[in-house]
């Protein structure tokens, strides 16, 4: 068995060949039933049919294991179960469930496999399937990569259907009726005479009924829940101040803590002087933790004040600490020894550029960016009597459990993770650094619940940002067409940095370095995309839409430049080049929505960008006005192909939210470093978009594709290039670096 584990680990997030090799080898382990974590602690008379449905005499409980970080994941997961189980969501309990291998994510690992989303070759399918096997074996319970809907679409509907049919079997056994005569409705089995037996009254007998496994899923044409607009399950709490986040928990005897660790990440602490802090009102302790100190007090503000009063002697950053030097390192990475990938290499780019009369060249730069969710990192931890309880918002409960076990010296089974609603994340809660700090404090204060809350400045200077990157593009046009396109992108590897913190190796190329660029559905005759890996600098991580967040800007800005160089219309030329039917329909949709080609009048312009990321083709058209030298964003039209829209209200929220995320950071956000420390430590210097700047956003979801996809991230990548292309159209000024505020003002 040791060898299975070794192979699975090695093939994680790497080349398809290794994963394909793992399929046959891992089949037995894959097919074996994963444990049902709900069986542990099940009361007598309660029933569980699978890891997603539990029924006792009091309630039906649905388990929604993907974290809700604002994207509505709890709601959509509950809808998937309810569609088959026939329950009213107002009448059930919805819980995130415990950390468990049962809740593996079968799609997220596939994103790391360099197979274009448009490819349906046998090898491509086998590669993606192999990723699912690896993820299941590893128990990768992770929320991210816009995978919740594609990963859970069949699993949760099946879970609901299995539970429903088992409940019907239980009712048949109890009544002597034939199962075929029974129906289900709103949490009850309905007998032919109309008598209703509530599911909760069937729990005891259902617990002894063999689980009915062979169940067909309902035809989407008959859906009553999915595909319809819904009220989010959390909307009342979030509109009345009654939603508890990690920062809001209150417990008897709880103390308030905050931490300060070296803002030059990993630089360590050489010493500290807490003599003043220890005398301040309400301060109970100043404790050493890894790389810094924690202050424990009777009030969060008092902890904040005292933490500022601790004099810390920090070590130096173990990475290049100055942004100018960081960009110089990136610029020096376009060399053979640092080449990471060349997944796209069609025709003969070198020959085409050699033969071209004119070679168009451009260099683009994108900055580090913070996640900066509005709820700063917040945790409650309680250690004692052989167990550790942790309450927090997280996207990685199993990794967190393992890390907390290691730190506290407990077995993982004695570490209890209580997942809470997150006040935003955008990828930030794929890290467990903040939880480790809370655990370090809690183990020094056994028996006392410790709430740790970061100051905003601590949060922003201890982020794991989206990496910076430079791309160098060359191209040629001929006869009014884009003829050659060569894009080289140099960036540090998110996979390398993140996986190292999870204790996992990252082998093979990092797809994220070129994601959203190498895999675009355009038939440029001579077309090449090369990734260069910059050696690790600032610790980095996944940021909403990951590699595509910046690569979309670089690819689509240059595509626009080449279209203009060719004298071609950017929409018509993309449509001509597009070799993927689903993507073409997205472009056609946004052309129609925006009335592309109509006259906008002087001082105005529209820009188009298209990115296929996370398997979702998205096209955006941005309209801007040049108001006396300042740019006003007027309208955005966005079309996305997701196979099937499960909740049109939430779909619109996620897609328009992604557009605003992409535009806001492109307008005015960057992290720069000095001495290894992020210089932007609060929202006055990392503002994003404010309400008065928000354009009218018109959204359309297309449902032409055979596979269902998630929409939390794919709206982000085309936003920045569509804005840049619109600014060019309105002003003639081409901006090749982000944020745009370096070169233009926004109203």
């Amino acid at each position: 068995m040791g060898r299975v584990k070794t192979i699975a680990r090695r093939s994680f997030l790497v080349g398809s060949a290794a994963i394909v090799g793992g399929v046959a080898f891992g089949t037995y382990l894959y097919k074996r039933e994963v444990e049902n974590p709900l069986e542990a602690g099940l009361e007598p008379g309660a029933a569980t049919f699978n890891p997603y449905v539990k029924i006792d005499s009091e309630a039906v409980t649905l388990i929604t294991p993907r974290a809700d970080v604002g994207q509505g994941a709890y709601s959509v997961q509950a809808h998937l179960i309810a569609e088959e189980l026939d329950v009213d969501l107002e009448a059930v309990r919805i819980e995130p469930g415990p950390p468990s291998a049962a809740y593996y994510n079968g799609v997220v690992a596939a994103e790391g496999v360099p197979i274009a989303a448009t490819s349906e070759t046998t090898l491509a399918r086998a590669g993606r399937g192999g990723a699912d096997v690896v993820s299941k074996i590893m128990g990768l319970q992770l929320t991210g990569g816009s995978t919740t809907v594609p990963d859970m679409y069949d699993r949760l509907r099946s879970a609901g259907a299995v539970a429903r049919e088992t409940l019907k079997a239980a009712a048949a056994a109890q009544t002597g009726l034939d199962v075929a005569e029974l129906k289900t409705d709103a949490g009850a089995v309905v007998l032919p005479d109309g008598t209703r037996i509530a599911y909760i009254d069937l729990a005891a007998i259902a617990a002894k009924t063999p689980v009915v496994e062979d169940v067909a899923l309902r035809d989407p044409a008959s859906w009553r829940v999915l595909g319809k607009p819904h009220q989010r399950t959390d909307i009342v709490a979030k509109s009345t101040g009654t939603q508890d986040y990690g920062i809001d928990l209150r417990m008897d005897g709880m103390v308030h803590a905050t931490t300060r660790t070296n803002p030059a990440l990993g630089g360590g602490i050489l010493g500290f002087d807490a003599s003043e802090a220890e005398t301040m009102r309400g301060v109970q302790a100043v404790l050493p933790i890894t790389d810094g100190i924690a202050v424990v007090a009777d009030n969060t503000w008092r902890a904040f004040q005292a933490a500022q009063a601790v004099v810390c002697d920090w070590g130096d950053a173990p990475y290049i600490g100055n942004t100018e030097a960081q960009f110089a390192e990136v610029a020096a990475s376009f060399v053979k020894e640092r080449q990471d990938s060349r997944f796209k290499d069609e025709g003969d780019v070198e020959a085409a550029l050699d033969a071209a009369d004119t070679v168009f060249e451009a260099e683009y730069r994108i900055p580090y960016l913070a996640h900066a969710p509005l709820e700063p990192m917040s945790v409650v931890a309680l250690f004692g009597e052989g167990r550790l309880d942790i309450w927090t918002g997280t996207q990685i409960p199993r990794f967190m459990q393992d890390g907390a076990a290691e730190l506290s010296g407990l077995d993982a089974e004695n570490v209890h993770i209580h997942v809470l609603m997150s006040g935003g994340s955008f990828g930030r809660r794929l890290e467990d650094d903040y939880v480790r700090q809370a655990v370090e404090i809690a183990v020094q204060m056994p028996g006392t619940p410790v709430q740790m809350v970061w100051q905003r400045e601590e949060d922003m200077t201890h982020d794991f940002p989206r990496p910076l990157a430079i791309s160098r593009a060359r191209g040629a046009v001929a006869e009014g067409k884009v003829a050659a396109f060569d894009l080289a992108i140099a960036a540090p590897s998110v996979a390398e940095s993140s996986l190292a913190r999870w204790g996992q190796p990252a082998m093979g190329p990092d797809v994220a370095i070129v994601a959203g660029a190498w895999d675009q559905p355009f038939a440029v005759p001579d077309y090449r995309v090369t990734g260069y890996r910059v050696p690790a600098m600032v610790p980095i991580s996944s940021w909403r839409s990951v590699g595509a967040s910046g690569n979309g800007f670089m690819h689509e800005s240059f595509m626009d430049e080449l279209c203009h160089a060719a004298g071609a219309d950017p929409m018509a030329e993309r449509l001509r080049l597009c070799n993927h039917d689903l993507s073409r329909k997205v472009l056609e949709a946004v052309a129609e929505m925006s009335d592309w080609g109509s006259d906008l009048g002087t001082g105005r312009g529209r820009g188009l960008a298209f990115t296929l990321a996370f398997g979702v083709p998205v096209a955006e058209v941005v309209e801007v006005t040049d108001v006396d030298g300042a740019i006003r964003i007027d309208k955005v039209f966005v079309a996305a192909e997701v196979g099937r829209v499960l909740d049109p209200v939430n779909f619109e929220a996620q897609l328009s939210g992604g557009v605003i995320w992409g535009l806001g950071h492109a307008m005015n956000c960057e992290l720069t470093y000095d001495g290894g420390v992020a210089q932007q430590d609060n929202y006055h210097v990392f503002e994003g978009m404010r309400l008065h700047q928000v354009p009218v956003i018109e959204v359309r979801g297309l449902e032409n594709g055979p596979k269902i996809k998630g929409i939390g991230e794919p709206g982000v990548p085309p936003a920045a290039p569509a804005l840049g292309n619109a600014i060019f159209a309105a002003t003639g000024k081409r901006i090749r670096q982000l944020p745009f505020s370096k070169e233009v003002n926004f109203l």
Binding site: V69, G70, Q71, Q231, R232, D234, I235, V236, A237, K238, S239, T240, G241, T242, Q243, D244, Y245, I247, D248, R250, R281, D298, N299, T300, W301, R302, A372, P373, L374, E375, P376, M421, G423, G424, F426, V453, Q455, R456, V649, N650, A653, Q654, G657, G658, I660, W661, G664, N682, Y683, H684, E687, G688, M689, R690, L691, H692, Q693, V694, V696, I697
Partner: protein, 152 residues
Amino acid sequence: MKLTVNGTEHEVDVEDDMPLLWVLRDELGITGPKYGCGIAQCGACTVHVDGISVRSCQLAAADVDGEVTTIEGLGTPQALHAVQAAWIEHQVAQCGYCQSGQIMQAASFLDLNPEPDDAQIDAAMSGNLCRCGSYPRIRAAVKTAASRLQGV
């Protein structure tokens, strides 16, 4: 010192310069107002003092010179304020963390300006950040709330 919050008078023993936000959250256990930035840049901590919206992270406890209302005092799940009802109708919240402050800002603004135009709504609400990008629905919900409050 004495503080009246949501109609209840409290005696609190805190430093004069403790921000109202932390008196509410950590001394009185009223957690609807949120901590986001601590420098009046995000608006998540917005509450009312005598009906006027203020950033409670920047208002010292000793400077509170009126009755404080937090989102808990504006309305409850059982008895929603018109602004909260509009927020629910428009499905505004995503992560929801900024929404207590957004709602308190909107409620105070509509009290002072019951018939705002679009530019006034934009100006009044631009001090409140939303990282998720729920802004278009905030605009729509403010308009709906305005018409409801006028009985239209």
